[in-house]
């Protein structure tokens, strides 16, 4: 706690300094490409605070349990904030605000899809994960199944999701920072990579969690302030805001109803499935259920997380509409061709300037950067855990490994993943990476989620069924995205896509579940008998928590 008060003091001091700096008269309208001093000062404050936390966390991170799960002593409320932080990525803040800005109501459809996975996680998975797992979701999926194939599959699923997500975040970080701070693209990517390696290798899950909590609080506070400032210009009346938005938007009244984003029923259902169950298969989110001490705290985490995320999406919706009125009509945010400066992700950033001047612009820019940093740290930790705990300790060493070696491997994996992320971030600079988060969700929903939910609930699941079903789900999702419109047409430049739908989840999840079912019920091997016989003991632990991992005493 002492460290936290030091941090608060440091932060307020730096805040005062930056406010003074920002108080100097601005010269004309802001040049977005110029170095933004307020934003940089505020961002440096955040970095200083998070490095202090990393130092504090490093002294407390001694065992593998500390490294992977912060010793299992995070409270439900803290974990709820951290989960919400993982979920409120820069992509969802800037991206959804941008979507509302350009399409209006369609942004809300996305937000709802992202949110409704949470109640499902709560009812069917949260406490079960806590009771059965130790460090990674593969612990749960492979609880009674053959370790080698299931761990290998779960690690592949995790790493694919993590890498896709990382590339999207890194490219986003580079582009955003280029626009916001006036830094070079590669410098931004390298900076993000180095900081994230430091947080994770030195501070493990404890540092990663606190970085995420601080960022979540800052982001919620900043978004609340922005939405409040927007509404204050309309007498706190949504009706007045909507009326003005409809007046100035090129699509007029159409922005108040579902538009072209989800045009046919198959796409709508497939997108809905992918968003809802993808959440329940994201390794960096699932990992958070092992940081709390028991099932009760796991449930509370989801309750708080759902509240924060839902509130955040309502704010984002308001911010998007605010930007339609206040940004799209103001020539200082538009270039010569009347296009938004900085591209489609920028409405929320410009709005910060429109309602709160340079100080709020600096604050929101710094928060956006902090968000990317926090999210990539969580992703990297999830990826490193899959390498060290699942691949190295379980697949290659068959569990005969000491904690020191496993920790060393996880730190090496973190550094390698960090460097890989920097490299890929630079390689993909000019590529369209918008499809990658969608693909990550589709794979999470089609490979990770089916084997996880079936291993918890279906007593007849066998190793063969889970391995083949999970693999086929992963492969189907990957192939359908590649031959679908987003990659085949938009990225590779072919005239027509081979597979007509943008969202593969409806098909790939069906393949995964049917294949898992079929290859399980027809499995008469000796291994299958062991798998089925072990269900009862697993279910007892799952239901009661008897034998579950507890919190480490510090």
């Amino acid at each position: 706690m002492r460290y936290l008060s030091v941090f608060a003091g440091l932060a307020s001091l730096l805040w005062a300094v930056s406010a003074l700096a920002a108080g100097e008269p601005a010269v004309g309208p802001v040049e977005k490409q110029a170095v933004n001093v307020t934003a940089i000062v505020m961002f440096l404050m955040f970095v200083a605070a998070t490095l202090a936390i990393t130092y504090w966390a490093a002294r407390r991170t001694k065992t593998a349990k500390d490294f992977y799960t912060a010793g299992g002593g995070i409270t439900g409320f803290q974990n709820g904030l951290a989960i919400a932080g993982d979920y409120m990525s820069a992509a969802s803040f800037l991206g959804i605000a941008g979507l509302v800005y350009s399409k209006g109501y369609d942004g809300l459809i996305y937000s709802i899809g992202f949110l409704v996975g949470w109640p499902i996680i709560m009812f069917l998975m949260a406490e079960q994960l806590r009771n059965l797992g130790k460090y990674t979701f593969a612990d749960v999926a492979s609880y009674r199944l053959g370790q080698t194939p299931i761990r290998a599959l779960a690690a592949c699923g995790s790493l694919t999701v993590v890498l896709l997500y990382l590339i999207a975040q890194m490219v986003g970080a580079g582009q955003l920072i280029q626009t916001l701070f006036g830094l070079e693209y590669w410098m931004a990517v390298v900076l993000v990579g180095i900081l994230m390696i430091m947080y994770v290798t030195f501070g493990g899950m404890l540092a990663t969690t606190w970085v995420q909590i601080i960022k979540a609080v800052l982001l919620l506070a900043g978004a609340t302030l922005m939405a409040g400032l927007v509404l204050s210009q309309f007498g706190f009346s949504f009706e007045a805001l909507f009326t003005k938005a409809v007046e100035v938007h090129k699509d007029g009244i159409k922005i108040m109803a579902p538009g072209g984003l989800v045009s046919d029923p198959v796409s709508a259902i497939s997108l809905g499935l992918g968003l809802m169950f993808g959440t329940a298969g994201l390794p960096h989110i699932l990992m958070r259920f092992f940081t709390v001490s028991n099932a009760k705290e796991a449930r509370k985490s989801v309750f708080y997380a759902t509240g924060f995320i839902g509130y955040f999406y309502i704010l984002t919706f308001t911010i998007g509409f605010g930007a339609i009125v206040l940004v799209s009509t103001d020539p200082q945010y538009l270039d010569a061709a009347k296009k938004l400066i900085g591209g489609g992700n920028m409405p929320a950033i410009h709005l910060a300037h429109a309602v709160g001047g340079n100080i709020l612009l600096g604050f929101i820019s710094a928060v956006a950067f902090a968000t990317i940093l926090a999210v990539v740290s969580g992703l990297t930790l999830a990826g490193a855990s899959a390498v060290s705990h699942d691949l190295y300790a379980s697949v290659f060493r068959h569990g005969n490994v000491n904690e020191v070696d496993e920790m060393r491997i996880s730190k090496i994996a973190t550094v390698v993943l960090g460097i890989l992320a920097i490299y890929l971030g630079i390689q993909f600079q000019n590529q369209n990476v918008a499809f990658m988060v969608g693909l990550a969700f589709a794979i999470a929903a089609s490979a990770n989620f089916p084997i996880l939910i079936l291993s918890i609930y279906w007593s007849k699941l066998t190793t063969r069924g889970a391995a083949l079903g999970g693999f086929m789900g992963l492969a189907t999702a990957l192939i359908l995205v590649i031959i679908g419109p987003t990659v085949w047409k938009d990225v590779l430049g072919n005239a027509e896509a081979i597979f007509p739908y943008k969202y593969p989840a409806l098909f790939s999840m069906t393949v995964a579940f049917v294949a898992t079912w079929l290859f399980s019920i027809t499995d008469n091997s000796d291994r299958a008998k062991i798998d089925r016989a072990a269900y009862e003991a697993q279910n007892l632990r799952c239901q009661t928590g008897i034998g579950a991992e507890g919190a480490a005493v510090h």
Partner: protein
């Protein structure tokens, strides 16, 4: 878990009560949530115009409160589950653990 402990827990009446009550409750809530969400998605897919009707003569459409209601509804459902699980189900779990100690 040792097989004698498994046997003991399995035959415990509180354990059977816990499993039965929690399964019914959790799956009921999950189905309610799925039904609410897919009802919404199907309206978006098949009858988007119905969400575009004006709410009370102004610009605000029916789709806005419905969308916000689904968000609030999700939060309330999780709250209901937490409330019952943290009291009733945790008490039953405690009794089971006590009995098989």
């Amino acid at each position: 878990m040792q097989s004698d402990l498994v046997e003991k827990v399995r035959n415990n009446p509180q354990y059977q009560e816990l499993v039965a009550k929690r399964s019914v409750f959790a799956w009921t809530l999950a189905i309610i949530m799925l039904a609410a969400y897919y009802a919404y998605i199907l309206v978006v897919a098949f009858a988007p115009a119905s969400l575009g009707q004006t709410l009370s003569g102004g610009t605000t459409t029916i789709g806005i409160p419905i969308g916000v209601a689904i968000i609030v509804f999700s939060f309330i459902l999780t709250g209901i589950y937490v409330w019952r699980a943290n009291t009733e189900f945790d008490e039953l779990t405690r009794q089971v653990k006590e009995a098989v100690k």
